[in-house]
Symmetry: C2
Subunit: 248 residues, 2 copies
Amino acid sequence: MLSTIRIILINTFHPGNIGSAARAMKTMGLSDLCLVTPQRYPDAEADAMAAGAMDVLENARVFASLDDAIADCSLVIGTSARSRNSASNRPMLEAEACAEALLKESMNQPVALVFGQETMGLTNEELEKCHFHTCIDANPDYPVLNVASAIQILCYELRKASVRFEQANIQPKQAHYPLQEELERFYLHLEQTLTDIDFIIQQHPGKVMKRLRRLFNRARPESKELNMLRGILSSAQKASVAKDSTND
Amino acid sequence: MLSTIRIILINTFHPGNIGSAARAMKTMGLSDLCLVTPQRYPDAEADAMAAGAMDVLENARVFASLDDAIADCSLVIGTSARSRNSASNRPMLEAEACAEALLKESMNQPVALVFGQETMGLTNEELEKCHFHTCIDANPDYPVLNVASAIQILCYELRKASVRFEQANIQPKQAHYPLQEELERFYLHLEQTLTDIDFIIQQHPGKVMKRLRRLFNRARPESKELNMLRGILSSAQKASVAKDSTND
């Protein structure tokens, strides 16, 4: 459902882009705009660019962190330039596939599409929090889309996907995915366990958690699977404590 | 070929939109920008919005009329809001089909996609000059896309179509279509002939020519067919003169 697809803008510098985002969203039937630490909001420039989408702009929610903004989402997709991604092994979706993935899952739970700051895009830390990345195919000599243009294109693909889904009468997936905050609790549990069993040494944590996040983002555990994994972690912790006390 | 697809803006009011158009075009690999009687051009606001697409902006050509801008094109598609079209019987293409039609024909001859003035869109007179119309599917409650957003989406569809065509190795059509200026000469010839044979009475021309334009826009005569039609017109004129002189 287009109404449960959240558009998140991080650290937006030009308030005009927030207004343009609201307008682009509304023209395509989206309405859930979230702002993470915008430089200026509310702002007259944003109002001017929003035109007839003042309702979307006024209903925008402001968050202190990306974590807060995605806490109740089950699927998070980050936007980035292709060049940044080709260097990494992050799972990458074309705009059309991104729209289909978001729309399918939005029938069950809120989902989010995240846009970074105008000039820098999403930081690596922010990208790590996304299950997938998406990138709009563009002219390799000048792939520099304005953030409002990128939002317009992806919202347009979301609307097209929604029309296709309606025509094909596609039903929501039966699988139930954990919310982002449940996933974060799992990562904390995982890190704690790996520390308990001395796999992670606190003074030299290395890239273990980053690599595990990528692996689990690719695997996308369902809620039941996540419960099972947490059970395994608890068992590992108990066994480790038992061993430690035996050693004492 | 994306390079032979012309983007035409008519009577643009905000120079910023001309700059945004140039940027949107370049991000998707287009470069042929034409301006019909822009209110302000060149202009610093346009430069600012063009960002890294200054080359497209600087190479833009300015025309005194739409006729001049499309004279050497064989296919002209106008953009408009759905509400305006549903009332008429004009042939209408979805954005994706519009992109495919333009791209296919652009392999042979220049083609054009035309955008009207920001608030009013294309006038009826301008729409009559287009073979087809296109309209971006949008939220029926607020289908008001900014002209730069509309250009961005249609250029994006053109790029997607070009990637599909490359993958499918689609060849150009063999048919050769008359240029717009040849078509206009045909309409003049047609109107003159209809006057000569007293079908059109100069004091009360009515909507005959408008209706015939729509009919021929739907039929899209090839060059050979247009030559044949002009042959028929000449014969009708000669016969009419012969009859008139017989009557004298």
